[in-house]
């Protein structure tokens, strides 16, 4: 599989094991699934009258133009002009696959909250992170599937072994198996502290992944991935700030 770019990160590179040949069938199915759902929707509405206004008067026909660089003249394009997009970058695909795996650990962490702590603030925060990141996982999967790419890197990874028996490297910021075990074994205030510091570490890793993406030539030109990566970066920065505030506030509350 050549979907992994050497440019993104050697850590991603070591995750090649995640995308094995037998995933191929699933990949096609996922892509087709999206295509066909769209097709069925499209065929359904194409037979119905549109409410959009028609523009038929040639005297007032709209023009299609394309400006030049500053100071240069503007070109008139044919009225039949259609939109085109830049080529997709392999680094985009690798980023999405890696981020799905990254997000899944966050969801896994938040799933522990209900049974490990009574802290109401943390429960609210956890619900929000879980909801956001689950939602984003599906967005990334849709992005990949609609483009015929594998969505299943998630099945491998984590603490799994690679083909040569060595542990697979984690995406930046992901908690190590030891950290995850410590989190699972903690309760109450200790859990709260490990969760918050762990999730801050985890979120900061996502910021690094976004930075690496945009430092790759040709990457991030797809509007969906650009918007997603930028928003994920912004949202996680904001959540980090909230978590830091919770960490600062906690000791005094616990003394009571």
């Amino acid at each position: 599989m050549k979907i992994f770019s050497d440019a993104l990160n050697s850590r991603i590179d070591r995750l090649r094991v995640a995308c094995m040949p037998q995933r191929h069938a699933e990949r096609i199915c996922a892509a087709l699934c999206g295509v066909l759902l769209a097709a069925s929707a499209g065929a359904a509405f194409s037979s119905l009258p549109l409410r959009a206004a028609q523009q038929t008067d040639s005297a007032t026909a709209p023009v299609v133009v394309q400006p030049g660089a500053p100071g240069k003249p503007t070109k008139t394009l044919p009225s039949s002009t259609k939109g085109v997009l830049p080529a997709r970058s392999p680094a985009d695909v690798a980023f999405m696959q890696g981020m799905i795996m990254h997000h899944q650990q966050a969801v896994e962490m938040t799933a522990l909250i209900a049974s490990h702590t009574e802290n109401k603030d943390l429960q609210l925060l956890g619900a929000k992170i879980s909801s956001s990141q689950s939602d984003e996982i599906r967005f990334m999967q849709r992005w990949l599937a609609a483009r015929g790419e594998a969505i299943s890197m998630t099945m491998a990874g984590m603490s799994d072994m690679d083909a040569s028996g060595k542990p697979v490297a984690l995406m930046p910021g992901m908690l190590t198996p030891e950290q995850m075990t410590a989190l699972r074994n903690a309760k109450g205030a200790e859990f709260d502290h490990l969760f918050l510091t762990g999730m801050i570490q985890h979120h900061n890793g996502a910021l690094i992944m976004v930075k690496d993406l945009f430092n790759t030539a040709g990457a991030g030109q797809d509007a969906d991935i650009f918007n997603f990566a930028t928003d994920a970066d912004n949202t996680q920065r904001a959540e980090i700030k909230i978590m830091q505030a919770m960490l600062e506030k906690k000791p005094s509350e616990e003394k009571r």
Partner: protein, 675 residues
């Protein structure tokens, strides 16, 4: 009611079969993964939850103490469709939807892709069947999205990630496209001033020459060096920043300047200094990555302690000489997050690190504004700046100074701001999920992804309440608070606002603690089975109509209709306010003429709020009516004038500040009324 053609039915059945198959396969694989936690621990998923990413998912259960949106609202279950979705409205008449032009939609080349054809063949649909072009919605949702709006005279400017479309709205019901300007780079935020048009460019595919080709991936690494990280190639032709166009010829916009910035321009705000007629200013909000110094000298994305000249933690101010726009340039980069006592650039979060002191645990601070609304008439700006809402003194527009900053535990991402006309309130929005997600589902909390209304008094912001679209939306509708503008109804604070696929909602926030919806329009989802990005990006009032920029579908045009919450007089009074230009983030003070229609709006409001006894309401209406039908006969006008003092007296004893202001304003009109 919905007639599904046989082809569509076959394809849909095939899709369902295929998706089910995919889910099974995924579930099986899932069970083999040792590190995956038991699915039962995940609140949102059943043990055998299908993993078809196109399938919509309901929200997880509401967190304790939170409430969700109303599922009994007629907006909750509208039928899906791109151009034939079910619609419902209250107090808003939908006049028109103008579809996005073909030049801003992907060409129908993908169905001919051999891979796609092969897959179709395997399903037995083949025979050269072309897929409908709506396929484009799945593979390039955002690249051709409509974005923000600006207005000037009879022209509406609709930004798009792919460029700009300019419409003639001289007769709103007969709105027509004038110019499609191809110039990609996202997200096409737009402002206009006299003969100048400004446009935000943020994405790395932006080019100085407005080319659509973007930039290529880096060439393959030389043999033996595949694993080495290489810095990306600097591109001299890349453009990220604010473009300046001359639109003297509306059919032939000419690019005059392209002012480069390190982070590009996600949004920008036109600032007009009342004391400087020769220049206009642009505040640039960049929210994305900082590009390398090799491409644009001086750009640094380092933390402030490593590089005091970092491009983070600032906004940019561009100065545009009106007579020489080609000389536009960045003249300042205000550090609006600075801690004035310590001088730290990251002053809005000095929490410090709590983990290991390495890169992955360093603190992240508020380092950007997403959008800024300036209100030059009161010398203030409100910034929605990712982790904070901030208040700026902009009396010296090149050097804005922070006056206050607020945070909110329920806020995910501070997105935009607008002032009430009297400057005593600020409405912020929280774009939880970035606008791509369904965040108005029945179980999405009403305090998340909502407006937050703050009191503004003595340059201090104080939280008053949240407002979220009251109607629940479906799982396949991206929905969260987004852009809106004031509707100039005198005597009330009313905002029309876009909620993506949640539609358009008109909110009254006169009482900041109890905002309420007074009108709405909504469509069903684009698709019932999967979330296809769409909905209203912006909904703005301009000179008598409401315009909605629909991301996927086109341009919506509405008219306000009277209801029990808003009378025809109030609507007519709003229509008395006419402006030459509207750039919503450059907020202008609304002023109403001393016309009797404005007086009638106040009377209707005093009637609704019981701010005056019924007999006085009747007497006022009769006197105003008599003056009108007499064509402002002197005696009738004198009678009106005679009613003013008692109104002023009542203002002193009014039940609430809103009624007091209405009574005083009404008295003022009655002293010097015009027809």
């Amino acid at each position: 009611m919905i007639r599904v053609p046989s082809f569509a039915f076959r394809v849909a059945v095939a899709a369902i079969i295929l998706c089910t198959g995919t889910s099974r396969m995924a579930a099986q694989t899932d069970s083999q993964a040792p590190a995956t936690p038991p699915a039962a621990q995940e609140p949102a998923k059943a043990p055998d939850a299908p993993q078809n990413p196109f399938a919509a998912q309901p929200a997880p259960p509401l967190p304790p103490g939170m409430t969700g949106s109303d599922t009994n609202d007629p907006r909750y279950k509208l039928t899906p469709g791109l151009y034939d979705a079910g619609e419902t409205s209250l107090g808003l008449k939908h006049l028109l939807l103008l579809k996005k032009p073909d030049s801003f939609q992907l060409g129908v080349t993908d169905p001919d892709d051999p891979k796609v054809q092969k897959l179709i063949g395997q399903l037995g649909i083949g025979g050269g069947m072309k897929l409908p072009k709506e396929l484009q919605l799945v593979i390039a949702e955002l690249a051709f999205s409509n974005s923000d709006l600006a207005f000037q005279g009879n022209h509406l400017f609709q930004g798009n990630f792919y460029g700009m479309n300019i419409y003639d709205i001289s007769d709103p019901a007969q709105t027509r496209l004038v110019t499609s300007m191809v110039c990609p780079g996202g997200q096409g935020d737009v402002s206009v001033y006299k003969n100048l048009m400004f446009m935000s460019v943020e994405m790395p595919n932006g080019r100085l020459d407005c080319g659509t080709q973007g930039f290529p991936p880096e060439p393959p690494a030389p043999a033996g060096h595949e694993k080495e990280r290489r810095p990306p190639v600097a591109q001299a032709d890349r453009f990220r920043g604010v473009r300046v166009f001359d639109i003297s010829d509306i059919k032939n916009p000419k690019q005059m300047a392209a002012v480069q910035t390190c982070r590009g321009s996600h949004t920008h705000t036109l600032v007009v200094d009342p004391n400087d007629k020769d220049n206009v200013y642009i505040y640039v909000s960049g929210t994305s990555f900082v590009r390398q110094a090799e491409e644009l000298a001086g750009c640094s994305g380092e933390a402030p302690d490593k590089d005091p000249n970092t491009a983070l933690f600032r906004i940019e101010v561009i100065k545009v000489p009106v007579a020489a726009p080609q000389d536009a340039k960045v003249v300042a980069s205000p550090r609006v997050f600075i801690d004035p006592r310590t001088g730290a650039l990251n002053g809005l979060n000095n929490g410090g690190s709590h983990g290991k002191n390495d890169e992955e645990t360093k603190p992240a601070d508020t380092n950007q504004c997403h959008d800024i609304t300036v209100y030059s008439a009161i010398g203030l700006a409100a910034g929605a700046c990712s982790g904070n809402g901030i208040l700026l003194d902009i009396k010296d527009p090149v050097h804005p100074k922070r006056l206050d900053a607020v945070n909110d535990p329920n806020y995910s991402y501070w997105h935009s701001a607008s002032f009430s006309n009297d400057g005593t309130k600020v409405v912020f929005t929280d774009e939880w999920g970035g606008g791509l997600g369904a965040r108005c589902r029945p179980n999405d909390p009403s305090k998340w992804g909502a407006d937050a209304i703050f009191h503004l008094h003595d340059d201090k912001l104080t939280f008053a309440s949240y407002y979220k679209l009251p109607a629940a939306q479906g799982d396949t509708e991206n929905c969260v608070a987004h852009n809106g503008s004031l509707i100039p109804v005198p005597g009330r604070d009313i905002e029309v606002q876009a909620w993506y696929q949640g539609g358009v909602s008109v909110m009254d926030f006169t009482d900041a603690a109890h905002p309420k919806e007074i009108a709405y329009f909504d469509r069903g989802p684009i698709d019932s089975k999967m979330l296809v990005l769409g909905g209203e990006w912006s909904a703005y009032w301009y000179n008598g109509n409401i315009y909605g920029s629909e991301i996927a579908r086109g341009l919506d045009i509405f008219e306000l209709m009277p209801t029990q919450f808003l009378t025809q007089n109030e609507i007519d009074a709003a229509k008395t306010v006419r402006v030459d230009t509207l750039n919503v983030q450059n907020q202008q003070k609304l002023e109403w003429p001393a016309q009797l229609v404005v007086a009638k709006a106040y009377v209707d409001q005093l009637d609704r709020s019981q701010g005056l006894p019924a007999e006085r309401i009747v007497a006022l209406r009769t006197a105003i009516h008599n003056a009108e039908i007499s064509h402002m006969n002197k005696g009738k006008v004198a009678k009106l004038r005679g009613m003013a003092p008692s109104l002023e007296q009542s203002a002193g004893a009014a039940n609430n500040p809103a009624d007091a202001k209405r009574l005083r304003a009404l008295a003022e009109i009655l002293k010097h009324p015009s027809a």
